[in-house]
Every structure is written in structure tokens, then in C-alpha cells.
């Protein structure tokens, strides 16, 4: 990669801090889904593992965000998740919500990679994005979806997913 500028580094740290906040919101959403009482033991195990992954992702984003790291869940995004969790009334509904979160997180990482220029941030986002995509695929399997839904077109993550937008879910 060509060398990044100091301006790039500041902008990238802001993006990393935003992604960190979304990862923490997802981890908390998973905790609440696990506590909903609708999940089987097998699905609970998957949800707990994914929650741990998102905590790990948040930690890596926080590291590259440096001083801009907030270390807290995105308030607006978490509030939205909590409203959606309140509407969950079955395991299927919980898994559909989780799959939606993962697809949106993957799209968010893709959008972030379209902007960042500094090597640590590029590497952090690049190493996380495929895992979130795999989460979405596993949740599709849990839901019993077909191959087209589980492995969508190879050039896009999920055409219907909308990434987390900092303008909608401000960092602070």
C-alpha cells in the first residue's frame, strides 16, 4: 500500500472508532438475544460465540482507533436493536434479526474499506469483514435457507443489507 498521510490516519481512526461502537452494540444485542429465552441450546452456543467474536472485533478496532476509541456501544444503534429484540417472539425471529445484523455489519466493513487508507486500519477491517459474512451464512443455515440465500452472488455480500451509517448512528 502507498504511504498514508497524517490526515488519512485521523480520518481512519474515526472510522475505526465508529466500527468499534457498532461491534459493541452487536455484542450487547447478542447478549440480550441469548437472554430472550427463545433460543435452543445449540443456537445459544452459536450466539454466544458470535458475541465473543464481536467483542474481539471491537477490541481490534479500538486498538487501531487509538485515542478516538470510545469503548462503548453505539447508543443509537443499540437502541434500535433493543426495539427489534423486544419484537422477537421465536427462535426464528431471533436468528433472522442476528442474520440481518451480521449482513449489515459486513456491508459496513465493506464501506469502511472503501474509505480507509492506513495499513493498520485496513488490516483490522479486512480481517474482520469475512468473519461477519461467515456469521451471516451460518445463521442462514440455522434458518434452513436455500443455497442462493446462504451463498448470495459472489460479488456482493447481501444486496438487501444496508450498512450502519455514521450519519444515522452518530459516534457520540
Amino acid at each position: 500500500m502507498p504511504a498514508a498521510t497524517r490526515q488519512d490516519a485521523a480520518a481512519d481512526a474515526t472510522i475505526a472508532a465508529f466500527v468499534e461502537s457498532t461491534e459493541l452494540a452487536m455484542a450487547e444485542a447478542y447478549r440480550q438475544l441469548a437472554a430472550s429465552g427463545f433460543l435452543s441450546d445449540g443456537t445459544s452456543a452459536i450466539v454466544e460465540r458470535f458475541r465473543q467474536h464481536h467483542l474481539a472485533h471491537a477490541e481490534s478496532m479500538g486498538l487501531v482507533a487509538g485515542a478516538q476509541s470510545g469503548g462503548v456501544a453505539n447508543v443509537t444503534l443499540l437502541a434500535e436493536f433493543e426495539q427489534e429484540i423486544l419484537a422477537v417472539d421465536s427462535e426464528g425471529a431471533a436468528v433472522r434479526l442476528a442474520r440481518s445484523m451480521e449482513s449489515r455489519a459486513t456491508v459496513t466493513c465493506g464501506a469502511a474499506l472503501g474509505r480507509v487508507a492506513t495499513e493498520p486500519v485496513v488490516e483490522a477491517v479486512a480481517s474482520v469483514m469475512p468473519v461477519e459474512s461467515a456469521h451471516a451464512a451460518i445463521l442462514a443455515l440455522v434458518l434452513g435457507l436455500d443455497l442462493e440465500a446462504t451463498l448470495p452472488d459472489g460479488t456482493t455480500v447481501d444486496e438487501t443489507a444496508v450498512g450502519f451509517d455514521p450519519a444515522v448512528y452518530p459516534l457520540r
Binding site: 500500500m1 502507498p2 504511504a3 480520518a11 474515526t14 472510522i15 472508532a17 465508529f18 445449540g42 452459536i46 460465540r49 458470535f50 465473543q52 467474536h53 474481539a56 472485533h57 459486513t106 459496513t108 466493513c109 465493506g110 464501506a111 469502511a112 474499506l113 472503501g114 474509505r115 480507509v116 487508507a117 495499513e119 485496513v122 488490516e123 477491517v125 479486512a126 480481517s127 474482520v128 469483514m129 469475512p130 468473519v131 461477519e132 459474512s133 461467515a134 451471516a136 451464512a137 451460518i138 443455515l141 440455522v142 443455497l147 442462493e148 446462504t150 451463498l151 452472488d153 459472489g154 460479488t155 456482493t156 455480500v157 450498512g163 451509517d165 455514521p166 450519519a167 452518530p170 459516534l171
Partner: protein, 217 residues
């Protein structure tokens, strides 16, 4: 593509790979030789249009990626031809190969736009290192295991390319493919585990997945 790659404009890490003795993975050698306010408010908006790349390593990575896609398709065809797969697994590999064709179509324009040698042969190194496993397939689990290791390697390779490409646009392309390949490996891993969902690790490593035996330099 022939001749030396000028790494002087690249990142320190890429420079060390080229100049430090370890050099670029043989994946690349194979491809190139023909062998085979609110400050965050707008931060995720698309960047302005710019040339795809004028950086030589980008083209080498794209050539390598095309050769990997061709190798993946060839290997998956061999796995299906082994005769050990059930209908569900055959359909799965068919879907995966359709994705690989799409991935190739995403990476090829980087090569053609650079007016360098078009890659039309599978990556010879990947074919060579996979051949022993292919020859030992004696059950569906063996076959899916080869496919799973292949997709795991591909996902990591694209994460590596993502970390090395010089423009955000190329990094986005590469990352999208890394994500798709990691979906492949997750589904294959789940199928291998039979009724257990393979959750995997929290990260895909950014290092080049090529084993040391296929590194030249």
C-alpha cells in the same frame, strides 16, 4: 507479466517481502509466469472516482487472483468428478464455482486495463499442492475437506490482497471476495461437521497463506 516489480512505491511491509529474501508468494510467481462536523457523517460515503491503479503490484495481485479463481474452479470440478459427493454437496460446489466465476470477472478487468498478460491458466502452485489431497479422496468427507481447505486459503489470500492493494476501490473489491470465500468455508465446515454449525475464529489472518515451501526469493 515479466521483469522485476518495482516495490519502491509500496508499503514497508510489501517492500520487505520483495527485498528481504522471502519475496512474494509463488502464487504470484505462478500467475505472472503464465504457469498456471460530525467527522464520521460522510466517512462511509463512496470515494471519488479515480484510476483503478497505476501500481505494478496491484496488477500482480490481480493476476494472481485470477489464477486462483481458475485453480479453484478446476479443483472443485475434480472434487465433483471424484464421484464421492451426494447431490447436496454437488449442488453446493456448483454454487461455489458460480461464485468463483463471478470473482474472476471482478478481478480480470484490473489485468486487462493494465494491458499486461491476461491470465488464462489455473495457478500452478495451488494445483500442485492440492493434487496429493485430491488423489487421496476416498469418501465425501475427504472431498469436502479439500474444498474447505481451498476456500479457507482463498479467503485468507483475498484478505492479504486487501491489505496490499493500493487503492480503496481495489481493497473493496478484494474484501468482498474474501467475505464470499469465507462464507464458502463456513458452509463447507458446517457440512463436514454434520449437524453442527462451524463457527470458526474471530479473524481471518492478513498474512499471505502460501506455505513457506511455495515462497520464492
Amino acid at each position: 507479466m515479466t521483469g522485476m516489480i518495482d516495490a519502491s512505491r509500496g508499503s514497508r511491509r510489501a517492500f520487505l517481502r520483495l527485498g528481504g529474501g522471502a519475496a512474494v508468494a509463488a502464487f504470484i510467481a505462478s500467475a505472472c509466469s503464465g504457469d498456471g462536523s460530525d467527522e464520521t457523517a460522510s466517512t462511509l460515503a463512496p470515494p471519488e472516482s479515480r484510476p483503478i491503479s497505476d501500481w505494478p503490484l496491484d496488477v500482480a495481485y490481480a493476476q494472481t487472483a485470477v489464477s486462483l479463481e481458475l485453480a479453484a474452479a478446476r479443483i472443485n470440478e475434480r472434487i465433483v468428478a471424484s464421484g464421492f459427493l451426494g447431490d447436496g454437496s454437488i449442488a453446493l460446489l456448483g454454487r461455489i464455482n458460480a461464485n468463483h466465476a463471478a470473482h474472476r470477472a471482478v478481478m480480470e478487468p484490473i489485468v486487462t486495463d493494465a494491458a499486461v498478460e491476461v491470465v488464462d491458466a489455473p495457478n500452478a502452485v495451488v494445483l500442485a499442492v492440492t493434487e496429493p489431497a485430491l488423489s487421496l479422496i476416498a469418501a465425501e468427507g475427504d472431498a469436502l475437506g479439500v474444498a474447505h481447505r481451498l476456500e479457507t486459503m482463498l479467503s485468507q489470500a483475498y484478505v492479504f490482497f486487501t491489505s496490499e492493494f493500493s487503492t480503496a476501490e481495489l481493497r473493496s473489491r478484494s474484501a468482498s471476495i474474501a467475505a464470499a470465500d469465507n462464507r464458502h468455508q463456513a458452509v463447507l465446515a458446517t457440512r463436514l461437521a454434520i449437524d453442527q454449525f462451524a463457527v470458526g475464529d474471530a479473524y481471518v489472518p492478513v498474512e499471505n497463506p502460501a506455505p513457506s515451501a511455495v515462497i520464492y526469493g
